[in-house]
Amino acid sequence: MKRVYWKKLLPISLAILLLLSGCASSTGTKNSSSQGTNGKVESQPNSGGDLTYALATSPDSLDPARSGLAVAVRAFRTIFDSLVVQAPDNTIKPWLATEWTISDDGKTYTFKLRKDVKFQDGTPFNAEAVKYSYDRILDPKTQAKNAVALLKPYQSSEVIDDYTIKINLATPSTAFLSNLSQAMLGIVSPTAAEKYGDQFGKNPVGTGPYKFVSWADNADIVVGKNKDYHWGPSIVENKDAPYLDKITFKIIPEEATRIGSVQSGQVLAAETVPPQNILSLKKDPNTQLLQVNTIGLPYTLFFNQRRAPWNDVKARKAVQLAVDVNAIVKTLYLDTYSRAWSPLSPGILGYDKSLENGSKLDVKKANQLLDELGLVKGEDGIREKDGKKLTLTYVDGTPNREKRNDIAVMVQQQLKKIGIKVEINITKDIASVVQQKADYDVYGNSQVNSDPNALRAFYHSTTPDQEATVKRLGGGSDPEIDQWLEAGTVETDLAKREELYKKVQQKIIDQAWILPIYVFPYTVAASKTVNGIKFDSLGYPLFNDANIKK
């Protein structure tokens, strides 16, 4: 019996050993490949494959003019190209446009366009198409959203010849070129736009490296390789057709499920890794974590200065001194997000570093300030004046994006200490509550943007007419800030521009118009087989170089 036993055991154990060593060596080769946070492309990237990429929320539309969500940009950046591209050092480089000249008064831009570009539906790319795309954004029938603000102060354009276009601005704007680089001002195919009308958002056609394949409602968005592509921007290595056959954007709102799917292999990549998973992912041998800072306006809480007592700087300062943002960042984000100190995020032109670590927690002073306003603490610890309790209506949207609802819960607890009763109102109806009726005391917002001129939309005062349609967030108004912002739009000298924006940031913080909370890092959890995902200057993923190792 024993002899037979040994005879069988030997070959079996040998086989097992061979298998194990085979596995070990293949993992060995996997680990020996180099992977930076921005996925350096290997010498022989594999062609083909389907990259499944999980998004955190559902895109609203794939029409760049009509979309208002960053998550949609992540999908349609693959479909549309822009006239120019913004390099990591914030300079503007050619893309669909090869060169350009700006008139002395800054109001006329003349672009020369590439002659070898085609739309994904076969129609030629030319000056007509560019004119069409931009005019379309201004056309009220398009119901364009963020694109309108980005395109301003564009007025009109003239087609000089097939590949030359002259663009006229109402007023000069140094931010104009930077805005043109964004996906929301991507060039659309006039033929397709005319054909699909208001359904263009479900049938987008551009000049990008991937073309639209399908979008099952509330489910997957599929884009496929554009074989004819060879006009990639300078910030990617592969300027020709991409390596991947297709990208499937899946929508998985639940954090745990989204990240779990990467670890279980159901998807190859997932965005927005929740802080509690970032640490455990770093230890997982099969996954990698890509992280890049987004630039623009970080997540800040805006005080509605139209309502008392938040029109008084003392009341706002009291809240600023009593909210422990460090605790919030540490508790909710486990220190994986950085704290925001300014209305602008680090990395953007003009960011004022001196504001960092500027405000300190001072509950005593906060209480003092409120006392000075005549708000006396009642029996329940809540302050009141003239019989009215001091309440703060904190409005936020749903779902609980980036744990923003939880910030409200923490703020609620922290403000109890200075006698403010916080009422949290979570609603999907932000449009009417915040923008139409301005029925809030505090509301938070963030914006991904390429140029500090973005501050104008939030911090420059608006006319009563404009207020009638949409009430600007916060409603704060200051003639000095207005002046600086206006000067910043047209200032061409870089150093002077930075100075202007520094002044704006300092005054905004000084006057406590806002409470900056966190800077959002765009995180992607991906299988180690995925290679070559890059990010543009705004933090959006680029898939030109992306490939999957077998």
Partner: protein
Amino acid sequence: MALANKILLKISSALVSIFGSLILVFFIIYLLPGDPVLSMLDPSTATAETVANLRKELGLDQPIYIQFADYFLNVLHGDFGQSIINSEPVLPKVLEHFPATLALTLTSAIFSIVIGLLFGVLSAIYRNKWIDFIARLIGLFGISMPTFWSGILLILIFSVFLNWFPAMGSDGWKTLVLPSLSLGFVGAGLIIRMVKTSMLEVVNEQFIVTLRAKGLSERVIMYQHALRNALIPAITIIGINIGELMAGTVVIETVFSRQGVGRIVADAIMAKDLPVIQGVVFFSAIVYVIVNLLVDLSYSLIDPRVRRSDQR
């Protein structure tokens, strides 16, 4: 012939119920606070005129009964309106997601019926033995555990710790296992209790004693006669349970991230997407009524007494 009449009567009764639920659904949603027109437009470009135009286009400026009449006529043509969020027509969207929900409901129903009947019968036969207690415990837990909790527990044990089954998704048979276990457990509990009680009731009745007196074996009595009679209330429960199962998919599909009708409802409710909510609730009412109609009609097949009374 009388049977045909009875069936006709039942069908028309079902149709009235469907119509009634349509009215009910319509008016409940009508009570929604918040202006749907405003949430559809982009406030930064909308003027009072655009708002008024859109309201007119959607027919929302008409009095309520006209709105309802329009809706009803459209429904008859198969047009359930469009989603407020992305202008998707409602009915195709619901139908697209229905298979995932159907698969879940059917698998859960099968699971409940199998486990329910098995343990219910065992519990009745071996009354007061340990298997009875196990069955009763399963029954009690089934109706006491919230599905969102049992779902999460199953995910924790079988997905997170053991990694046997996926925690999300709607494709492939593996994704069906945990959700249907969780959902089916409730129905199993109900059925166990119902089968046991009705079998015990039947067993003490006169005719069973007579059968026993005639010399039939215990096994025959239990399985052929008692069980058959107990089936009727059991089937009633199953019929009602299908409705509960469909409603339960709202929670389960959220927990397991399945792309089904329940998920659409949950999302639509958060987004206050009236047409979608109306469409789905109405759709499920139709399915529920049809299922109960079938259950009702099947009584005639199972219980000869009912058949006879139908023919009188």
